[in-house]
């Protein structure tokens, strides 16, 4: 590939991305730094006043620094759920892909059902109350695992197929136990999928708001998306503060993405070197 073509492609990609992806983002940022009256117009103009710091501080400090509590809760919730999801889903995806058994069809259907069927809120609350898990963070972690595991299993099951069986067989001949094969051979090779699962699911769980709204009531249990309700209600919305809040709660998942994105790139280069 010639240099000209490489740069041409890059420039074209950047301009395209600029139009399609950056303009809406700019809109959000601009609105977040306007004053309330100008923000209410929701138009694409330069801010006339620039109350960046006031907006930032109002959003952070509203209702006894609710956003800080929310950051902590959402982080615990996300980290806990993701850890369980990765391990549990990879185990299922692995065995389901490798083993030919009569129950494969049933497992597939139940997994798909998790994507197709919306959960029933009130019966779930009754059950959580019976189990003593209602309105607790660990109960919420289990809920997130249950609701998101289908997605992860489908992803893992598809990608386990790309790992040659010779890998497991070599380990079996060496006398490794199933646990060892899975954790030391298979899971490391699934790294690109695992990173995808971590990135995608941490965003989904961090940004989940319907489930915490019902299963995790109480001011001390607030999660980040619920803080948006501080500035948006049925009858009046402070768009500047709402968008500032949206930006602030977008930062943690963005950091996660930037971190793991480098991991994917690193994975690619190592593959290239091997080839």
């Amino acid at each position: 590939m010639t240099l000209v073509r490489r740069y041409g492609l890059t420039v074209a990609a950047l301009i395209g991305a600029g139009f399609v992806f950056v303009v809406p983002f700019l809109f959000i940022v601009l609105t977040a730094v306007k004053d309330r009256t100008q923000a209410a117009q929701l138009d694409f103009t330069w801010p006339t006043s620039f109350p960046l710091w006031e907006n930032f501080w109002t959003v952070i400090s509203t209702r006894d620094f609710m956003l800080i509590t929310a950051y902590i809760n959402s982080t615990i919730l996300t980290v806990g759920s993701i850890t369980l999801l990765v391990i549990l889903a990879a185990m299922v995806g692995y065995v389901r892909q490798r083993r030919k058994a009569w129950w494969n069809g049933l497992v597939d259907f139940l997994v798909l059902a998790g994507l197709m069927m919306p959960p029933a809120v009130v019966p779930t609350i009754w059950l959580l109350q019976q189990l003593g898990l209602f309105a607790t963070l660990h109960g919420m972690i289990f809920i997130e695992v249950a609701y998101n595991i289908s997605f992860c299993i489908i992803l893992y099951r598809a990608f386990v197929a790309t790992i040659p069986r010779e890998m497991d067989e070599a380990a079996i001949i060496d006398g490794a136990r199933p646990m060892d094969i899975f954790f030391r051979v298979i899971l490391p090779m699934l790294k690109p999928v695992t990173i995808t699962v971590i990135v995608v699911q941490s965003v989904a769980i961090f940004n989940d708001f319907v489930n915490p709204l019902y299963y995790l009531p109480g001011n001390d249990n607030v999660t980040v998306q619920l803080t948006l309700y501080n500035f948006q209600s049925q009858f009046n919305t402070s768009y500047n503060l709402l968008f500032m809040n949206i930006l602030l709660v977008t930062i943690p998942p963005l950091i996660v993405f930037l971190f793991f994105n480098r991991q994917i790139v690193a994975g690619m280069t190592s593959g290239a070197v091997k080839g």
């Binding site: 798909l112 009130v122 059950l127 199933p178 990135v199 995608v200």
Partner: protein, 303 residues
């Protein structure tokens, strides 16, 4: 975490070890099955009973199949079904096409690859509420930036969300914008999993970039393809968050999808009726998604 996976054989062999059991033990399914079964399957399927009742959350009384009758008598049901299928097919197809294209682009040797990836993925990170408000404002018929831009070119833009025959397509477009980053990330994982040897061999044989794409990338990223198709198709059939954030199914009922019809019933306090609606939606999705899933996974065997 290091980047290589080159030490699989170095697993320490345990001296005493049972040969007879499968290396793929069934109990691996157990932890997931417990969490999923107790917290999702049991309450969800138990709730099916309520689809046969008049349910106010405080009381329920058995009324047989009346809710299903009422659901099918919903005046705008047909339109909702049509919209649902348009929305799912359109978003799924576009996510696959653009997602694959972007993934190929973003795994090639172009500059600013990391930055571009972040840019493409950013919409996935932003809350649906924010995306909805931002695009609704940009699609404003007179003040929105999209029509302002078209105006500069001498085109009078339509009411993207206020024109009843256009609203659902506008929302579908935004859904693609919002979700394509997800598809791209999955495709990237798929492409990254393809051993580089294939490309080296193809290059030595003098294959063009297009040939490498058609004969190597496309078939070998099949797991990613299957995943993206299944996930975005089901998502498209079931999801209504963006429809709700942008049009609330309107103007009137013009952009209602099945899930938003059901959600409105739930919000109105018609709990039995909305449960019946969920059953209908589930059957409809299963009727389309299960054959698709079987078809895609049967092909997998031929590889």
């Amino acid at each position: 975490m290091t980047t290589t996976v080159s030490t699989p054989i170095a697993v320490p062999a345990k001296p005493r070890h049972r040969r007879r059991s499968s290396p793929y033990p069934t109990w691996f399914l157990l932890p997931a099955a417990i969490v999923y079964g107790i917290l999702f399957l049991i309450p969800t399927f138990a709730s099916l009973y309520f689809s046969l009742t008049r349910w106010t959350l405080f009381n329920s009384s058995f009324i047989g199949l009346d809710n299903f009758v009422a659901f099918f008598e919903e005046p705008f049901l047909i339109q909702g079904v049509v919209n649902t299928i348009i929305f799912a097919l359109l978003t799924c197809a576009l996510k696959v096409v653009f997602g694959l294209g972007l993934a190929v682009l973003l795994t090639s040797q172009i500059h600013a690859r990391g930055l571009l990836r972040s840019v493409v993925f950013f919409p996935v990170l932003v809350s649906t509420v924010g995306v909805g408000i931002a695009f609704t404002a940009m699609m404003h018929p007179t003040d929105g930036i999209i029509n302002a831009g078209l105006g500069l070119l001498g085109i009078k833009g339509p009411g993207w969300l206020t024109n009843p025959s256009l609203a659902i397509y506008s929302v579908a477009f935004v859904e693609v914008w919002r979700g394509v980053g997800l598809a791209t990330v999955i495709f990237i994982a798929g492409i990254v999993s393809i051993p580089q040897d294939y490309y080296e061999a193809a290059r030595i044989d003098g294959a063009t970039g297009w040939e490498r794409f058609v004969y190597i990338t496309l078939p070998l990223s099949r797991p990613a393809m299957v995943t993206v198709v299944i996930l975005s198709f089901i998502h498209g059939l079931r999801n209504f968050e963006l429809v709700w954030a942008m049009t609330r199914g309107g103007p009137g009922f013009a952009s209602d999808v099945l899930a938003s019809v059901i959600y409105k019933q739930y919000q109105a306090g018609f709990y039995g009726l909305s449960t019946a609606g969920n059953v209908v939606l589930f059957v409809l999705i299963a009727a389309m998604a299960v054959p698709l899933y079987l078809y895609l996974n049967r092909k997998e065997g031929h590889q």
